[in-house]
């Protein structure tokens, strides 16, 4: 037990530590984080207040709590599932050499994930509880039960996320090309998740004579533990509380035992270096530029984290036509979209998803301490930035054209629509590739320890995604005001901005690159 506490403390300190004693900047960062956390809490409180008031008018404010519980749990699950790899940690060799049991190591890692998710569920549930007690009557035990629920809610979604991620890792270690198999399995999991979400959505059948039961059924089918949670919080039912806590604790114990059985086997297999016999025919005769491009494309494709986070727009762009190939859009319930409308807005949809796909926003940072290799190469900076932009552009072009081909099989696209889509692919893809690189050049981060820090949590990836999202939303919002030449205008706009970005890279970019220092 002492080892578990020590290890948890060490993991927590190592993950969340910012040296507040060393600089005012670090202190400001913490203040900024706390401020953003509180502001987010206020927004959630306003939404919760609206939901509680609305459900209260129907005489069932507790449905708002069920809703927050169910969606909060699924949100944590979705957030954790692609980033909770228990087996891949840098401290494995150190911990494995110490007299600490595997169960303790696994449990400490699970607790670490749990603490992170606790912060998320607190920001969702605390505002909901405050909104609830402002409006509805509550039992004397409510505050105690609310506290217990906040501590308990993240457990099951964390367990499911870690379990699914671990299963994927365990399966992929049996293959020679582990990373590629892991990426494919993650994609399959994503497709299943989308299908599950669609199925859940279609389960909402409103019975006007018993709205409460309809919603309860929906939330229960969405997340089966909802009924125990509602019964515990609202009806003060101790039996439900015990079941809820019991299932959570039991699942932790079962998962800890399960993972500790596989822990050494999987970590051993991950450590295996696959020996590929060199085939001299494969020694590259390509130019250095081609090799630079290939290096960056491989960097993206061999990292499930990188692919799933930076290319999520492209993945969805391929998945949508595949789904439409099997399902007729006119048959899908709960979606007010016809085939004609979809075709009309298809170029806009392409622009929206492409603008969410920039690997270049991380490619400079991901060089990390190896950036010196690029800086020492006897080649001009223009070739380096061109290779990085081209690598992202190639990924966008391949994914988008695959999507377009499948769309042509799924829908009756006209030649005009095809041309418009191609114009959008070429221009928006070029823009976002250049934009991501410029932002990464201005906001580099070479001091990362895990690539997730760069891919998901760095300033450059955040700015690029937010900008892409805002431009995408603006394009969608304005698409009805420019009916005829809208696509052409977008094409020209993207090309002009891309040209400006190229000028920036040529004139200013190389100076910034020369000053880059790890």
């Amino acid at each position: 037990m002492a080892n578990l506490i020590n290890l948890t403390k060490i993991n927590f300190g190592n993950q969340f530590r910012t040296s507040i004693d060393s600089s005012i900047l670090s202190l400001l960062k913490i203040l900024l984080f706390i401020s953003l956390y509180c502001i987010l809490g206020l927004f959630i409180y306003r939404f919760a207040n609206y939901m509680v008031t609305t459900f209260n008018k129907l005489g069932m404010p507790e449905l708002a709590l069920s809703e927050f519980f169910a969606f909060g749990s699924v949100f944590i699950l979705a957030l954790s599932i692609f980033r909770m790899d228990i087996f891949n940690s840098k401290d494995h060799d150190l911990l494995a050499s110490l007299p600490i049991s595997k169960k303790i190591i696994v449990a400490s890692k699970l607790i670490n994930v749990y603490i992170f998710n606790l912060l998320i569920i607190a920001i969702i549930m605390v505002p909901a509880y405050i909104a609830y007690i402002n409006v509805a009557s509550y039992s004397p035990n409510f505050l105690l039960l609310a506290l217990i629920s906040i501590l308990t809610i993240p457990i099951i979604p964390t367990i499911i996320a870690v379990f699914l991620n671990s299963i994927i890792t365990i399966i992929s270690t049996h293959f020679k090309y582990k990373k590629i198999i892991q990426t494919i399995l993650m994609l399959i999991l994503m497709v299943f998740s989308l299908y599950f979400a669609y199925e859940m959505n279609s389960n909402l059948e409103l019975n006007l004579f018993n709205i409460s039961e309809s919603f309860n059924n929906f939330f229960n089918s969405f997340y089966p533990l909802t009924k125990y949670f509602t019964s515990m919080i609202v009806d003060n039912n101790m039996h439900s509380m015990l079941i809820f806590i019991g299932i959570s604790i039991l699942s932790i114990i079962v998962l800890t035992i399960f993972l500790s059985i596989f822990y050494n086997k999987v970590t051993n297999k991950i450590a295996v270096r696959t020996h590929h016999n060199i085939n001299y025919k494969h020694i590259s005769n390509h130019s250095y530029f081609t090799n630079l491009v290939k290096k960056d494309i491989k960097r993206v494709l061999c990292s499930p984290n990188f692919l799933l986070n930076s290319c999520i727009g492209l993945i969805l762009l391929i998945l949508i036509p595949i789904i439409l190939f099997f399902v007729n859009i006119n048959d899908i319930e709960n979606i007010a979209l016809t085939e004609d409308t979809l075709i009309k807005y298809l170029p806009i949809i392409f622009a929206f998803f492409i603008l969410l796909s920039s690997t270049t926003s991380s490619l400079i940072s991901l060089e990390g301490k190896r950036i010196y290799i690029l800086k020492m190469l006897p080649i001009k900076f223009s070739k380096i930035w061109q290779s990085k932009v081209l690598s992202n552009y190639i990924i966008i072009l391949i994914a988008s054209f695959i999507s377009l081909v499948i769309f042509n099989f799924s829908l009756n696209l006209t030649l005009k629509t095809n041309i418009e889509i191609i114009m959008i692919i070429l221009s928006s893809g070029l823009f976002i590739s250049l934009y991501g690189l410029v932002i990464n050049l201005v906001f580099p981060n070479f001091s990362w320890k895990s690539e997730i820090k760069v891919i998901k949590q760095s300033a450059s990836s955040f700015i690029t995604v937010i900008t892409g999202l805002l431009i995408g939303l603006f394009i969608v919002y304005k698409c009805n005001t420019f009916p005829n030449n809208y696509i052409f205008l977008l094409f020209i706009s993207f090309i002009i901005v891309s040209f400006i970005l190229v000028l920036f890279l040529q004139i200013v970019g190389f100076k910034i690159f020369e000053k880059l220092n790890t």
């Binding site: 080892n3 020590n6 060490i10 300190g13 060799d93 494995a96 600490i100 295996v272 020996h275």
Partner: protein, 239 residues
């Protein structure tokens, strides 16, 4: 004492990294583990410590099997990897406290040993800094201090002198000599044959996963240097 019996390690069913290794390092021995890159040294050391699993043979640490009594064995071992991966966002002192708590080192002893080894390896003034800011050599030193503060009976080191400054190298060698005098067992891998020759009384040479020589250093090195003998063994001239 370390006793390796019929030990083999394969990463997959066909490819053996180490084949049928038998080696004994007694209490009071310093054994150099020598071999070319990819010979299987690190794999063997990791199996001795329990980082890697293995199916064939057994490794005994002071008579206990690392396979069957892993925790009990690890309590007697200190291991320093070739590339120490320590928690970058922890301060040096926090890391040492953690290791000391895992090995249940009493507070007084812990403080005395951290001071002793901190001063010896010139790390005391850096213990309050985050490990992420340390150089490779400093990370090596903090790993060494962490290894030494729990008084291990068996010391297993993977290329311990890489990245260390001359003064620290000297003190590490002196510390190793002092440890074996009090009955500890030490095995370390190295490519620096001069150090191996002067420091060790035992040597084991590994080639392509097989042990090609093991025995007393004095028996091997008589009229020639270890480097010359190693070259002959590697070329197959000496068996």
């Amino acid at each position: 004492m370390i006793s390796i019996n019929n030990f083999s390690k394969a990463y997959n069913k066909k490819e053996y990294v180490v084949k049928n290794l038998n080696l004994t390092v007694n209490d009071g021995d310093i054994c150099a583990f020598v071999g070319h890159n990819g010979a299987g040294k690190t794999t063997t050391l990791k199996c001795m410590v329990g980082i890697l699993d293995f199916s064939d043979g057994d490794i005994l640490i002071n008579g206990k099997s690392i396979k069957k009594e892993a925790i009990s064995c690890k309590k007697e071992i200190a291991y320093i990897p070739d590339n120490p991966e320590v928690y970058d966002h922890l301060r040096g002192i926090e890391y040492l406290n953690f290791i000391a708590s895992v090995f249940k080192v009493p507070k007084d002893k812990k403080e005395a040993l951290i001071k002793k080894y901190g001063d010896l390896f010139e790390m005391t003034e850096f213990l309050n800094q985050e490990i992420g800011g340390y150089s490779h050599g400093m990370k090596q030193k903090i790993s060494l201090i962490a290894a030494l503060i729990h008084d291990p009976k068996v010391l297993i080191l993977d290329e311990p002198f890489v990245g260390l400054d001359p003064i620290s190298t000297h003190y590490l060698k002196e510390e190793m000599k002092s440890m074996v005098k009090s009955g500890a067992t030490i095995i370390f891998s190295t490519h620096i044959l001069d150090v191996a020759e002067k420091l060790c009384n035992k040597i084991a040479i590994l080639k392509n996963g097989s042990l090609v020589y093991s025995g007393n250093m004095d028996d091997l090195v008589r009229n020639k240097s270890l480097e010359e003998i190693y070259m002959e063994i590697d070329n197959g001239k000496l068996n």
